[in-house]
Structure formats: C-alpha cells, structure tokens
C-alpha cells in the first residue's frame, strides 16, 4: 500500500512532465515561426484567398509574385508618357521623364499614394 507521501511525489512528477512537454512544444512552435519569418510567407495554395501576408516595405519588387486578381501584387510595367506631365514630376521627382523617350515604371509610384489605372483608347 502506497503512502500519502508516495502519492504526492507521483503527482508532482506528473505535473512536472506535463509542464516540460508544454514548454518544449512552445519552443518548437517559436522556432518554426522564426524560420518562416526568415524565409518569408509561403505561397498560399491555389484558389486560397486568405488575408494578405504582411510585407515590410511598400514595393512590387522583382521576384514578388504578381497577378491581376484583387489581393495580388500589380504586375509592374514601364511605359512612355505622351508628354512630361507636371503630375509625374510631382510624384516621381528626379525619376520623372525629362525627354520624350523616357519611360516611367508603375513601381516608382508605389508607396507614394494609391494608384488608379484606367485602360482605354479613343475608339
């Protein structure tokens, strides 16, 4: 027959084991989380439209996955303006076109203000 002291010791040992397991699991999760942060957010599976992963700087930098659906990074492009508009100078500063053949990049505007793109033609 076990004494009360033995029962207490066994109980303390069980609690200690549970606590140790919880601490180990927490440390493992933190390590995995840290690894993900270093590697960047994983691509969501096809068809998944969850909350956008946080990014640290405003950019559509090279290598970012771009698309045309809501939530995607807008595909970057480089095009020639019809003329050197004052607006372009205001938004782009030194990067604004100086000559007729100079081009502007969409990514140069990103981070400065929201961008409204209207595609169309005369006809």
């Amino acid at each position: 027959m076990r004494s009360n002291r033995q029962d207490q010791t066994a109980l303390v040992a069980m609690v200690a084991v549970i606590l140790l397991a919880a601490v180990a699991q927490s440390a493992s999760s933190a390590a995995a989380r840290s690894k993900r942060e270093v590697a960047g957010p994983a691509d969501p599976p096809l068809g998944f439209r969850g909350p956008a992963p946080a990014i640290t700087s405003p950019s559509i930098a090279k290598g970012q996955k771009a698309g045309i659906a809501v939530g995607d990074y807008a595909p970057d492009f480089q095009l020639q303006p019809v003329q050197p508009y004052a607006d372009l100078k205001r938004w782009l500063g030194d990067k604004a076109p100086q000559k007729a053949e100079d081009k502007v990049m969409l990514s140069d505007f990103v981070g400065k203000a929201p961008i409204l793109l209207l595609f169309g033609s005369y006809t």
């Binding site: 409204l116 793109l117 033609s121 005369y122």
Partner: protein, 153 residues
C-alpha cells in the same frame, strides 16, 4: 474622368494607359470617310507600330483636353493584355502595390463612380461627396466624344 482627376490628383496617382483601339477605322480609310474615327486628319486605325499608337494617343489627349498623365502601351508585350484590360478597365492599387479593386472589363462594365467609391474607401474619406456621375463610364469613348443630341426640326 476630368472631375475625378480634379478632385483626387493631389491624393492619388491617376494614370491613363492608352491601349489597343476598340473599334478602329478600316486600314487605309480616308479621314473624310472615317466619321468620328478621324480627328483633324488623323484616322484611328489599329496601329501597327508604337509610334503610330503614340500619335493616336497624343491626338486623343489633345482632342479630349485630358489633364491625366497618359502612358502609351507597347504593342509587344502589351500591358493592356497583361492586365486583361481591353477595351477598357479600371484598377485601383494600394500603397503596397496590391490590387484592391478591379473593375469589370469594359465598355459595359467600366464604372468610374464605382472606382471613385473604392478610391475614397482606400483614402479613408467619407462615402459621400462623390464627383462622378452615376451613369458615367470610365474610358467609354462613346460617352466622351458624342456631341449633344441634335434637336429635331
């Protein structure tokens, strides 16, 4: 679009991308035969070179007196095709470079008013005080160019 530009050009970047013609005049058609598809001698046929498209874009911007910075799409690769934007379409991009609004592909679905509502949301402005007309459609050339209807005699 002009009213939109006037109201928001200090808060947002507004850009018009001049893409492939939606209803070009026939190749070789003369200005006098092209009707509204000709402006001051320039016939709006489908351009075969970037320079031809650039010339059309210049003519259209002058004709419409457009203050909006207009960028000329390249023929190959075509940014309009990349964005599936022909014949016209609106996109709104946030300051992180993500698309937050994609309008319907025009001309029937393009709606400047809807674009304005989304822009105001993004700017954190109250929903009221819209400057665009309910039935106004972005880039709907027919809407922009049609003269006032003539009165019947």
């Amino acid at each position: 679009m002009k009213s939109l530009y006037k109201a928001y050009s200090d808060k947002a970047v507004l850009l018009l991308i001049y893409i492939r013609e939606a209803h070009p005049a026939q190749a070789g058609q003369k200005a006098e035969d092209a009707g509204w598809k000709a402006v001051e001698g320039t016939v709006f046929t489908q351009p075969k070179t970037f320079e031809e498209r650039r010339k059309l874009a210049e003519t259209a911007c002058t004709f419409w007196e457009l203050p909006i910075p207009t960028l000329v799409d390249t023929l190959e690769p075509s940014i309009g095709e990349m964005y599936q934007a022909w014949p016209n379409r609106l996109y709104l991009i946030d300051t992180e470079g993500r698309i937050v609004y994609r309008g319907m592909q025009g001309p029937q679905g393009v709606n400047v008013r809807e674009g304005e509502i989304q822009l105001r949301k993004l700017l954190g402005l109250p929903a009221g005080s819209l400057v665009t007309e309910p039935a106004r459609r972005a880039g709907d050339a027919a809407t922009e160019r049609q003269p006032a209807p003539r009165k019947r005699p």
